[in-house]
Symmetry: C2
Subunit: 344 residues, 2 copies
């Protein structure tokens, strides 16, 4: 969408990258002067969209130059889907007519306008970087706050359309790769434990007992009666425990020739297949990611895998192609993308 090429945030892996794929901070904010989005008129929505846009783009911050104001009306269906795949917009936002969006050039910051709240600001970072992500979110939040009359209550904190976001309005989450815990069937027990600590864990690609790619999102649930800092510290502490647990199970798997065989074959198939469905891709790339993290596979690194995890999704492939593709054509394009990426 942006003509000038900027390296995207998801082309790199980060801290604790063997287990943590990425970190996300999301802030929900509303303006005092408008009703919540579900009760807005169309002219109000447009006015509100533009007010927020101007607050960011016309502000004094150097950040402004890195943002673009986008409307889903100007995008193809594949482009809209690909924004969801990059976690830049929600599936609900994708279904809106002419949803407006402020997007940073490296795609690490996106601001959905008038989704559930007037402002849904989201910052993403590779690896485990809750402090870094929060710092950026807080900076942009402050910038907007200086120019926009936020709906804020001294007792309740930030007011949001849905009461579950009241207070900090913050959702902090980490995207975790947990193949060993999944393989050992530990996730349900883990989900039970973290829920008692105010967190929730769920499969990111499919909610079943074995989500695709063994990728999970661990996030804070409590927004009321807790500071942002305390919420982040809580999430950080539990994330570190989950990382340690996952690593310890991986250590046990290291000497299992069947695990090594499955990992190596997955790499072999990804390197050679001419047809790759999305589901098979997720299953194989998860094995390969585990293999790279365990030092079994050395021909590819975590950066490349992070990039592939985004780029090999259906909407991304179709958007890149520039015209519609049926599932069979897409599976051929996906295989070609993955093969050529691994080779180079």
């Amino acid at each position: 969408m942006n003509g000038n090429y900027t390296e995207k945030w998801y082309m790199k892996s980060g801290n604790e990258g063997d287990v943590v794929i990425s970190t996300r901070i999301r802030l929900a904010r509303n303006l005092r002067s408008y009703p919540f989005p579900n009760r807005m008129s169309q002219p109000q929505r447009q006015q509100c969209d533009e007010k927020i846009r101007d607050a960011l783009l016309n502000g004094n911050s150097a950040l402004a130059n890195h943002f673009e104001y986008l409307g889903t009306n100007d995008m193809s269906e594949a482009e809209i889907i690909s924004l969801v795949e990059r976690h830049l917009i929600s599936p609900e936002f994708a279904r809106q007519t002419d949803g407006k969006l402020l997007l940073m050039d490296d795609e690490s910051v996106s601001i959905m306008l008038n989704e559930e709240d007037h402002i849904r600001l989201q910052v993403m970072r590779p690896g485990l970087d809750l402090d870094g992500a929060y710092e950026t979110a807080d900076k942009i939040d402050t910038l907007l706050d200086e120019q926009l009359p936020y709906a804020f209550d001294d007792k309740l904190g930030y007011l949001t359309q849905c009461p579950t976001n009241l207070g900090t309005g913050m959702r902090a989450s980490v995207m975790l790769h947990l193949p060993a815990l999944q393989e050992k069937g530990i996730i349900p027990q883990l989900a039970n434990t973290v829920s008692k600590l105010g967190l929730t864990i769920r499969g990111l690609y499919g909610e079943g007992s074995e989500p695709k790619g063994s990728i999970y999102q661990l996030s804070n649930q409590v927004t009321l009666g807790i500071s942002e800092k305390a919420a982040i510290t809580n999430l950080m502490g539990i994330t570190k425990q989950v990382i340690a647990q996952e690593r310890s199970y991986r250590e046990n798997m290291k000497n299992d020739i069947r695990t090594v065989d499955a990992i190596c074959r997955s790499y072999g198939i990804l390197s050679t297949a001419r047809i790759l469905s999305g589901d098979e891709f997720m299953r194989l790339i998860s094995n390969v990611r585990l293999g790279v993290a365990m030092g079994i596979i050395e021909d590819i690194n975590l950066d490349t895998i992070s990039w592939l995890l985004i780029s090999a999704q259906a909407g991304m492939i179709t958007a890149k192609e520039g015209h519609s593709l049926d599932a069979a054509q897409r599976d051929i394009k996906r295989a070609s993308l993955v093969r050529n990426t691994i080779k180079s």
Copy 2:
């Protein structure tokens, strides 16, 4: 078994190598002065063994230096099995106590002594080479004939224990790789046709409708009332027709992305797997052989595949290891052998 390393005949591919793996000529001969093996006494058998051995090894031919006289009593079970896998002895011969064998250093000629007949002389060649194989067989046959009183009848020809070999005592065969004909379900129809022409076709590894590796043996059945030359000409003509048919079906498969996908994945798995059962190996190497023949895979050639087809068999792996291996250990060794061979 032979300390001096000689390149084996099966390390090369030959004429029409895309379809024809190898050619074999087998001659059955008996000595006038002894009863057939199934009615021999032990002292007679030993005497007969030695008589044939001396006829070859003490003759004036330069060939003598290339032969070794071997007894299965001096071999491990794995070594005996590996001789069967290299088609140097029959499974029946492997079960005999102290079967004697004359083996040429490149393993292209083997002479089983007192198997079903006193002499079972076999010559193998890579690719399609019926004339070349017959020429060598005839040369050794003549050499033996000069010194041994063959059981020969002017009307019946060479006398053999089983009447199906009476006459020429010759079985000529070609080992064919027919993945396209097998895939298309053409083999039963082909078997029916060739049987009317005095030939038989059967799966070499498993007799079912889909033998392992899609490898078939096409051989002459008629030995009585036909010259060796006529039998070979007949087999040659039909082989060429089968080759043409296989190639034409392959041509149609070339543009099928699913075929290309299956071929490429097979190569990917063989290159990376850490565990490979014998059955899976045969299935994958057959796909890869097809891929090489079709020009889809260029990183490996038919020579290497010919060598692997022999070397990755269970007995060969165990014999090389020098001690017994259970199936799981063998599958790991097989994967390692195949992976390292492809890499180098």
